[in-house]
């Protein structure tokens, strides 16, 4: 870190960041181990229930689905990557919004942390890393289920793990930035009003082609659609150049989210 100190203009960053996000992650892991591990583990089951209920039940009426690349896949193989993307989104959003908000407003945990040498950026990064760890474990679990059920159609499915982490990072960094503007629980509820339509409309359960062109463009503006398409391409092996675009979408999202979060934290804690 010492080399960073000499760079002019990094003083503000130094005040925010002590290079000790590890301590924040370690606390979260410890808290998980000692209190809410059952809740954390249970998060794995949610997409599995959806996969079984929709993939098998509804799938029996649907048969095969044509992907955007023209490939035909069974319905369960179609929605499984969609559910994986959704769970990455939900997990990351939950951890970066509700969880952070609760700690900030009620647990007063951050006040205690910030009284030590730890800076707000350590807290932000620590929480995001913890969220990613959780998301990564869920992703591995869900991909294992998919493998057992024969829903991974290509070796590229293994790449879905880094893809899920990328997606989760994107949602978590933006989620945290949004949380830093929130003042009441009621405002937090609004987040659900953005998540629910994304969940239902982003080609999770049926292809985008059922919609007219203008509606398709609206949906394509939202991040979940990019996540679904990216992960679906990898698990079904229907690769395309568009996937680079989806990746780029999330890289931009991460950059914007982290920048905004840092700015906000500086305003909140160091004013």
């Amino acid at each position: 870190m010492s080399s960073v100190v000499s760079v002019p203009g990094t003083g503000a960053i130094r005040a925010l960041y002590a290079g000790n996000a590890r301590a924040v992650v370690a606390r979260s892991l410890q808290a998980t181990r000692s209190s809410n591990w059952a809740v954390v583990v249970s998060g794995f089951f949610e997409p599995v229930f959806y996969l079984l209920a929709m993939g098998w039940g509804l799938g029996s009426f649907i048969g095969d689905v044509t992907l955007s690349t023209g490939t035909e896949v069974p319905y369960a193989a179609f929605i499984a990557p969609g559910l994986l993307a959704v769970s990455a989104m939900n997990g990351a959003i939950y951890d970066s919004t509700w969880n952070v908000f609760f700690k900030m407003r009620f647990g007063r945990l951050y006040d205690a942390m910030l009284a030590t040498s730890i800076g707000p950026l350590d807290v932000a990064l620590g929480e995001i890393v913890y969220a990613l760890l959780r998301g990564g474990v869920y992703a591995v679990g869900f991909l294992t289920v998919m493998q057992v059920l024969g829903l991974n159609l290509a070796w590229t499915a293994a790449l879905a793990i880094p893809a899920v982490l990328l997606v989760a990072f994107g949602f978590a960094s933006v989620g945290m930035a949004i949380t830093s503007f929130m003042k009441t629980f009621q405002q937090m509820d609004w987040i659900n009003f953005v998540l629910l339509p994304m969940f239902l409309f982003s080609a999770t359960f049926y292809p985008l082609s059922v919609y007219s062109e203008p509606i398709q463009w609206v949906i394509k503006a939202f991040p979940l659609w990019h996540a679904v398409e990216l992960i679906r391409g990898l698990t079904t092996g229907a690769l395309s150049v568009a996937m680079l675009g989806h990746t780029a979408y999330f890289l931009v999202m991460i950059a914007a989210g982290v920048t905004l979060t840092t700015t906000r934290l500086r305003a909140l804690f160091l004013s």
Binding site: S35, N36, A38, V39, S42, G43, F45, E46, F49, Y50, L52, A53, M54, G57, L58, S60, F61, I62, F185, Q186, D189, W190, N192, F193, L196, P197, L200, F201, F205, Y206, P207, V210, Y211
Partner: protein, 283 residues
């Protein structure tokens, strides 16, 4: 001095006897009033979820999934029915049920433990069983609102067969909500601490009941060993009644009375137990 004794004692007693008449009769309503006022503090959420969620589901299922499904999924007395007709009653019932996963969990924990408001109520002339009833009445009213809003949107989207009999979906949704919610209320009232039980209920009770209750396709589509989930599920029983009211019963349906009986029994048992737990805890 003796005059003092004879006049003073009855005055004190008479005042007390008179002051308790109204609370003894209407205490439950005062509690409901309080709970409704509390809901106003998150009134926007109540209204937005009440109207926003059905709107999104109607659009997502009606314009999306229904358009994508080319084969008929379910049938009424006159053959295959529109997919949206089939799904909409289940969604309405689920919306009513999901109100209770919030109001009969965190609100109860708040009343007993976090904010301790039930203890404040308890010190007033209102009695513990009235606190329990008042809470139920307030939540029922919220469910009435949610179900009514849902039904209005269903009609707007043409998701109902017979609009007149279909209107009974509102009370059916509320009944299903109570059939799920009152046993949940009893459970919540018995907890002294939240160590994630509510999240577990959401995940391992509510979500599976929602997904495996013949919500998106007939229960018979599921393998036999999973169909019991529907039989114990207020969502399935409520949905089946709702479908019958909307477009008539399919050939393999249970009689409507059987569904209603299950719902009534679940709600009644939950209510009796919840009441007992409230009284036991506050006395």
């Amino acid at each position: 001095m003796s005059a003092d004794v004879t006049t003073d004692e009855p005055a004190m007693v008479t005042a007390a006897l008179g002051a308790a008449v109204r609370p003894r009769r209407l205490g439950w309503w005062y509690i409901a009033e309080h709970q409704l006022r509390q809901m106003r503090s998150y009134g926007w959420t109540v209204v937005m979820t009440g109207i926003g969620n059905p709107l999104i589901y109607m659009l997502g299922i009606g314009l999306g999934l229904a358009a994508f499904l080319t084969v008929p999924v379910a049938s009424g007395p006159d053959g295959p029915v529109d997919y949206l007709w089939f799904v909409a009653p289940a969604l309405l019932v689920t919306a009513a049920v999901s109100v209770t996963t919030e109001e009969f969990t965190y609100t109860v924990m708040g009343g007993f433990r976090w904010r301790r408001i039930f203890w404040a109520m308890n010190a007033s002339p209102v009695s513990p069983h009235q606190i329990c009833t008042g809470l139920i009445v307030a939540v029922t009213l919220r469910m009435v609102f949610v179900s009514t809003a849902y039904y209005a949107l269903m009609v707007a989207f043409g998701a109902v067969g017979d609009v007149a009999t279909g209107a009974l979906l509102v009370p059916v949704g509320v009944l299903a909500g109570l059939a799920f919610g009152l046993p949940l209320l009893a459970f919540s009232a018995s907890l002294t601490e939240d160590t994630g039980q509510f999240a577990m209920v959401q995940r391992f009770v509510f979500t599976p009941l929602f997904l495996f209750s013949g919500t998106f396709y007939p229960l018979a589509t599921l393998p036999g060993w999973l169909q019991w989930i529907g039989w114990v599920s207020p969502i399935w029983h409520g949905s089946e009644v709702g479908r019958t009211l909307s477009y008539g019963a399919g050939s393999d349906s249970w009689p409507i009375g059987a569904h209603l009986a299950v719902l009534v029994v679940l709600a009644a048992v939950g209510w009796v137990i919840a009441r007992r737990i409230f009284v036991g805890r506050l006395r």
